[in-house]
């Protein structure tokens, strides 16, 4: 009989396999499958942004730009013959290293960092539009080869759903580890009180750069997968409007909660479909209003709301209390 810990891990892995392969039989409508793939891939990027914003406290409006870096890097590699599976980590690395370009601004606090990241995001977009020989400008890159896993070609919503679920699961485990580790504590200290963190011997700027690297790395992975799924990579998908949407997902889901990142990605993606159907021209206005409403009335996002409701059914807390900004681990 295998030890309990190992048995549990095996069970969890099997459950993920079942979900990854079985979702296509539960969600059969092609249109909905497409939305789910979208939401899943965006979740991959939003989780990274949650680490940067919710755990390290750095408000970034540049995440879509890094998705773009990963997208362009990966399709250029696969179009020149490299296997998708090798291109993927390279794309992540490209985006992660791109994150280092933000190092001049990490010393900025709060609002100033946010504004600088916005400027950064615009700069990346301009590069995508103008670097014709590499990115093909606004025309974008098409004829992107589908990923192949042995005999299996990943070319449909269902197969991408499977891929996305596995990716998200791996990322989730890694991020769980990070947030529960000593380094996770370092990040939260940097978020809450940089002076206290420094006085405890923490190198604040080094910690910020590390988390930005990780957050951008996964954005690159998400961008790469999205690029191969949609079959086209163009600058429009990676401008600052998209970055703001990603930040909105973090806020709506719940700042500081890994679960919240996924909740927010799904909520906004699905909501976006409704907006697209009934009020497409008001999209950014609606996003703006949502952001304000959430910040005013639901600062802990949907995850915070759910935890509050669940908390009503639990017996009163003992010594352990819920942290003010909904730190969920």
């Amino acid at each position: 009989m295998m030890p309990r810990g190992k048995a549990r891990k095996l069970l969890e892995f099997l459950a993920v396999v079942v979900i990854a392969l079985g979702t296509r039989y539960v969600i059969t409508d092609r249109y909905i499958q497409g939305i789910v793939v979208n939401a899943l891939l965006l979740s991959v990027a939003v989780l990274g942004l949650q680490l940067i914003m919710g755990y390290a406290g750095q408000i970034s409006f540049a995440q879509a730009g890094f998705m773009g870096m990963g997208a362009y890097a990966s399709v250029l590699l696969t179009k020149s013959g490299l296997s998708f599976w090798l291109a993927l980590p390279v794309a992540g690395l490209a985006a992660g290293l791109g994150g280092f370009l933000m190092s001049p601004i990490i010393r900025l606090k709060g609002v100033y960092f946010a504004m600088a990241s916005l400027a950064f995001s615009i700069a990346i977009y301009v590069v995508f539009v103008n670097w014709g020989p590499v990115t093909n400008g606004t025309k974008g890159i098409i004829d992107i080869p589908y990923p192949k896993l042995g005999p299996v070609i990943i070319d449909s919503a269902t197969s991408f759903m499977t891929l996305a679920i596995f990716t998200l699961w791996i990322e989730w485990k890694c991020f769980r580890n990070i947030t529960e580790s000593g380094f996770g504590r370092t990040l939260r200290a940097v978020r809450d009180n940089e002076t206290a963190a420094t006085a405890a011997g923490i190198q604040v700027n080094a910690a910020k750069m590390k988390v930005i690297f990780v957050g951008c790395f996964v954005a690159g992975i998400a961008g790469a997968m999205m690029g191969h799924y949609k079959g086209i990579v163009s600058p429009e998908s990676y401008n600052f409007g998209e970055s703001i949407t990603l930040a909105l997902m973090v806020l709506v889901g719940g700042l500081g909660s890994l679960r919240g990142a996924v909740i927010g990605a799904f909520f906004v993606t699905i909501g976006s479909e409704y907006i697209g159907a009934y009020a497409a021209q008001h999209r950014m206005l609606i996003y703006g209003i949502m952001m304000l409403l959430f910040m005013l009335f639901l600062p802990d996002g949907i995850d915070g709301l759910v935890r509050m409701v669940v908390g009503c059914f639990r017996r009163p807390a003992g010594p352990r209390q819920v942290a003010p900004t909904g730190v969920s681990r």
Binding site: G182, G184, R185, R188, N193, A199, A200, G201, I202
Partner: protein, 254 residues
């Protein structure tokens, strides 16, 4: 033995010399108090020593090494730790988490080790919590260790910060007005704690306005006024020093 020494230390803010050519040293194992009226340059001196401010000129030596240009986090890692006039604690952390943060100066909690949850991460966490529990018990917050720092009253936030400072296992502990805002009972407890800290062979630099506490605790007193050192000596010498009396009470006939 002089563990920490400051020579010719100067800090200018534009035309203002906040700290003007200061010399003093901390003897190992002793409590040295830095006193002076508000605005004398005491906290600025602390900020310079601990790397939160960059000096204009002068040297700051710790165990023979010039720590003058070093970043604050590095100085903490070397063993010089300070607390703040307004206690700086992470507001979403529980008491025990805030204290264990001090262990981050002694143990490296790397990204890779955390991500992969390597065994060395687990070993370090265990060590860190051990270090923290000792500090938590010492400052008397064992019963409150699960309380969120943001919910604590002023005096207890102070104790959390002290706990964190002790969890760094420092060689030099610098306390910036630790008694400010504390009532009489809390002050006498603080005094007792400081005595116990001294007994465990730490070197302490104390900035305080509570003269009774200063006189009761100090082995040596350094007096600043308008950025300059105006006196240094034992409590008797300081109490009788005319310059010190003038600084606190003003000149003229008494």
């Amino acid at each position: 033995m002089e563990l920490l020494s400051v020579r010719g230390l100067k800090k200018n803010f534009g035309g203002l010399a906040a700290v003007d050519n200061i010399d003093f040293g901390l003897t190992e194992g002793e409590i040295t108090s830095l006193i002076g009226p508000n605005g004398a340059g005491k906290t600025t001196t602390i900020n310079l020593i601990t790397g939160f401010l960059e000096r204009t000129s002068g040297t700051i030596q710790f165990k023979g090494t010039d720590i003058g240009g070093m970043p604050a986090s590095k100085i903490v890692q070397l063993g010089i730790v300070r607390t703040f006039q307004i206690s700086q604690v992470p507001h979403t952390f529980t008491v025990e988490e805030a204290v264990v943060l001090g262990a981050h100066s002694r143990l490296t909690f790397g990204l890779a080790a955390g991500l992969l949850n390597l065994s060395r991460e687990q070993v370090r966490q265990k060590k860190a919590w051990q270090m923290a529990m000792e500090a938590i018990e010492f400052v008397g917050l064992k019963d409150k260790r699960h309380v969120i720092c943001g919910h604590l009253p002023y005096g207890e936030k102070r104790m959390v910060e002290l706990g964190r400072a002790l969890a760094t296992q420092p060689k030099v502990l610098i306390l910036d007005e630790p008694a400010a805002g504390l009532n009489t009972a809390e002050r006498s407890r603080l005094k007792q704690l400081i005595r116990e800290i001294k007994a465990s062979r730490l070197t302490i630099l104390l900035i305080e306005h509570d003269m009774k506490m200063v006189m009761d605790l100090s082995d040596k007193i350094v007096v600043l006024n308008f950025g300059e050192k105006i006196a240094e000596g034992s409590r008797e010498e300081i109490q009788l020093n005319p310059k010190v009396i003038e600084a606190y009470l003003g000149g003229g006939d008494v």
